[in-house]
């Protein structure tokens, strides 16, 4: 029963339950208003995106700059399913909508995974900047395609243009705190467990030295594609969640500058640190939101902040360190030493 001695995990679970309870109670008592709740939800969604991108860029050492493309792919798929297939609206009771939403989320993950697979297979043999360019290219192609596809939908007598630059609107509000938190925690657990398994080790080995990994019997193509597909899957899931909180999707949300935002989160948090990605995603989402009062100077300051942070901590906020509960017991001593 060695497993039970992993106290950090127990504390983490306890902490999670307490945080969930406190936030829920505070929200019900209007101490945390809907706006704050929305920001918290967005923080978690961004964290899913950052962590999943970290799996690709940080742990496997690839250089993908097209994450937003997978994100909106998932968003569109899920939005399409709930809005146009199941025709969920603001009036649909939540208990009815929820199963449909879950289906939509799963479908979003699956389609993004498929797209990730189709893109990953040919391009992952390129390395660093060349891979970056190609992923930018694919990200933009995804955006261009969503910008191109538009059709008409009969909305109770009113024929409405859907897709294209008009985006997909009328998506029901289904992403709530509980659901997003569950997905967020699951994502962290899955990615953490993946990394601390022989599969994750293979990915890290590829990052460290591709040739050596290859010659130690690791099928590098398989693992690169695996990391890429896993990352895209979670990006798709995050996209589904995002679509159902913004209630609107637009091709520009999958563009290059959006991908760059997620990239910033990964590198600011620390390449190869789940904890770092979560902190950076939470931090940046909150900071850019709470810098609102300074108006037009917001982005100017944001730029300065990035420069200062990176100069002070070139390896990112966490470097490669992790919170103890994100490291299985055996591996923990290693991290303690580094």
């Amino acid at each position: 029963m060695k497993k039970l001695t992993n106290k950090a995990v127990l504390f983490a679970i306890l902490g999670l339950v307490v945080v969930y309870g406190i936030v829920t109670i505070l929200h019900q008592n209007h101490i945390l208003n809907d706006y704050i709740m929305r920001i918290i939800i967005l923080m978690m969604i961004n964290a899913i995106l950052a962590v999943s991108l970290n799996l690709i860029n940080g742990f496997t050492g690839l250089f993908s700059v097209g994450h937003a493309g997978f994100m909106i792919t998932g968003g569109y798929v899920a939005g399409f399913i709930t809005t146009l297939v199941f025709k969920v609206t603001a009036e649909t009771p939540y208990y009815q909508a929820l199963p449909m939403f879950v289906i939509a989320i799963l479908a979003a993950g699956a389609v993004s995974a498929l797209v990730g697979f189709l893109i990953g297979l040919p391009v992952l043999r390129l390395s660093d900047d060349y891979l970056a360019i190609v992923t930018i290219g694919f990200g933009e192609i995804i955006r261009v395609i969503f910008n191109f596809i538009s059709f008409k939908v009969d909305k109770g007598g009113w024929v409405q243009d859907v897709g294209g630059p008009r985006g997909l609107s009328g998506i029901p509000l289904l992403s709530n705190f509980t659901l997003v938190m569950i997905v967020f925690v699951l994502t962290i657990i899955i990615i953490r467990n993946f990394i601390y398994s022989r599969h994750g080790r293979a990915c890290i080995a590829i990052r460290e030295n591709e040739v050596a990994a290859h010659l130690m019997g690791i099928n590098i193509t398989k693992y690169k594609v695996m990391a890429f597909v896993l990352g895209s899957t979670f990006a798709g899931v995050a996209g589904a969640l995002l679509a159902h909180i913004i209630q609107m999707l637009h091709p520009t949300m999958g563009g290059f500058m959006k991908s760059v935002e997620y990239l910033i989160m990964v590198y600011l948090g620390g390449m190869g640190s789940i904890s770092g990605s979560v902190i950076a995603a939470f931090g940046l989402t909150a900071v850019s939101e709470f810098l609102r009062p300074i108006g037009e100077l917001r982005m100017v300051l944001y730029g300065v902040l990035l420069i200062i942070l990176m100069l002070k901590m070139p390896a990112g906020l966490m470097g490669r360190k992790e919170f103890p509960f994100l490291v299985p017991l055996k591996e923990r001593q290693i991290h303690a030493k580094n």
Binding site: D34, G167, M248, G295
Partner: protein, 362 residues
């Protein structure tokens, strides 16, 4: 949620109003005009004693032209700042992210410039101050076929922008319906500054009219490149043209271009004249269409609150739905879908200025 103590409190002394616009990012030009226009009117009202003794307090939020940011702005204004009405925002895609929140929370909103018909369809708390695509497209098509009496038209629009795409498609459909022929229907990607590829294609089919449903900065460049290439077609366009920068960017190339607009600086309406004067005095430049529409939206909001006689959002909404007032563009009312019923003017570019040509009523 809005219950906590509100009813017991003494009569409110301020009206909280939100303004949302893309103040930073690459649509900042439009956002700042919008904010300036709305802010100007609210400040004027305050200077004149406020609304029923209450002063207006504005909360300005930036949406960066991004739906997610826009939704956050809406949520902040409603949940945190407790505004009773929102003026915003410029881009339809962002308004579409804000509208469900307004609808859900019962806080009326009026977008100055979002032309996508879907925006107001979100619900009965969502209004707009501009005409929607079908009307302007119709005006241009009518002018081309009936006044100019030509049959061959080409269109060049921004494919990444729902406003220009919508307008382009309506123009195309109406023009064909009126017996014309669309000889070229070309688009470009947002942010392009080289339009030669499309223009070469257009030049090859020699249209009589080139419809440019784009914003002024693109129109200026397109006009330059088109004329340089020897395209002699008449340029037609919509309210996106309305900015003094059209003439500085387009130079002589844009001379003779005709576009529909909400109002004209030559307008004899005292409100319009005062607006142009005040705006220039305060911001050091002539207002563009976005500023004018934001100003107009602000007028509608203040008028609705006055008539509602309260700052209860539902009452304001109800009042807004029955708007019937003189604005800087003339009399304005809303149809059942909360789109304004108002006339358009046709303007012609002459000597680096937009000159009044005709009025078109719906």
């Amino acid at each position: 949620e809005k219950k906590d103590g509100d009813s017991a409190a003494p009569a409110p002394t301020e009206v909280r109003i939100g303004i949302v616009a893309p103040i930073t990012g690459d649509a900042a030009t439009f956002g700042i005009s919008t904010r300036n226009g709305a802010q100007l009117y609210f400040d004027q009202v305050n200077a004149a004693g406020g609304i029923n003794g209450m002063t207006i307090r504005t909360f300005v939020e930036d949406d960066k032209g991004d739906p997610a940011e826009g939704a956050n702005a809406w949520s902040k204004l409603i949940d945190q700042d407790k505004v009773v009405t929102i003026v915003g925002t410029v881009m339809s895609k962002v308004s579409l992210a804000g509208a469900p929140i307004s609808q859900n929370k019962g806080i009326p909103m009026i977008s100055p410039t979002s032309t996508n018909p879907a925006v107001t369809l979100v619900g009965d708390y969502v209004f707009r101050a501009c005409f929607i695509d079908p009307f302007q497209g119709l005006v241009a098509a009518k002018y081309a076929t009936q006044t100019m009496n030509v049959r061959r038209a080409a269109v060049l629009y921004d494919a990444g922008n729902d406003y220009t795409k919508g307008l382009a498609e309506v123009f195309r459909d109406e023009f064909i319906k009126m017996g014309g022929e669309i000889v070229a229907f070309e688009s470009y990607a947002t942010g392009t500054s080289d339009f030669n590829a499309q223009l070469v294609k257009i030049n090859a089919v020699a249209p009589d009219v080139l419809f440019l449903p784009n914003y002024y900065n693109d129109v200026g460049l397109i006009a330059k490149q088109a004329r340089a290439m020897g395209i002699s077609a008449q340029f037609l366009g919509g309210d996106g043209w309305d900015s003094p920068d059209l003439f500085t960017i387009g130079g002589t190339a844009i001379e003779g271009g005709i576009f529909s607009n909400h109002f004209t600086a030559e307008s004899t309406l005292p409100a319009a004249q005062a607006f142009v004067r005040d705006y220039e005095a305060r911001y050091g430049q002539k207002p563009d269409a976005l500023a004018a529409l934001a100003y107009e939206a602000a007028m509608i909001v203040v008028d609705s609150i006055r008539r509602a006689g309260s700052i209860d959002p539902t009452a304001i909404r109800d009042a807004m739905a029955t708007t019937n007032m003189e604005t800087i563009t003339g009399r304005i009312t809303f149809d059942a879908s909360r789109n304004p019923i108002k006339g358009a003017v046709l303007l012609e570019v002459r000597n680096g200025a937009a000159v009044y040509k005709a009025t078109v009523n719906p």
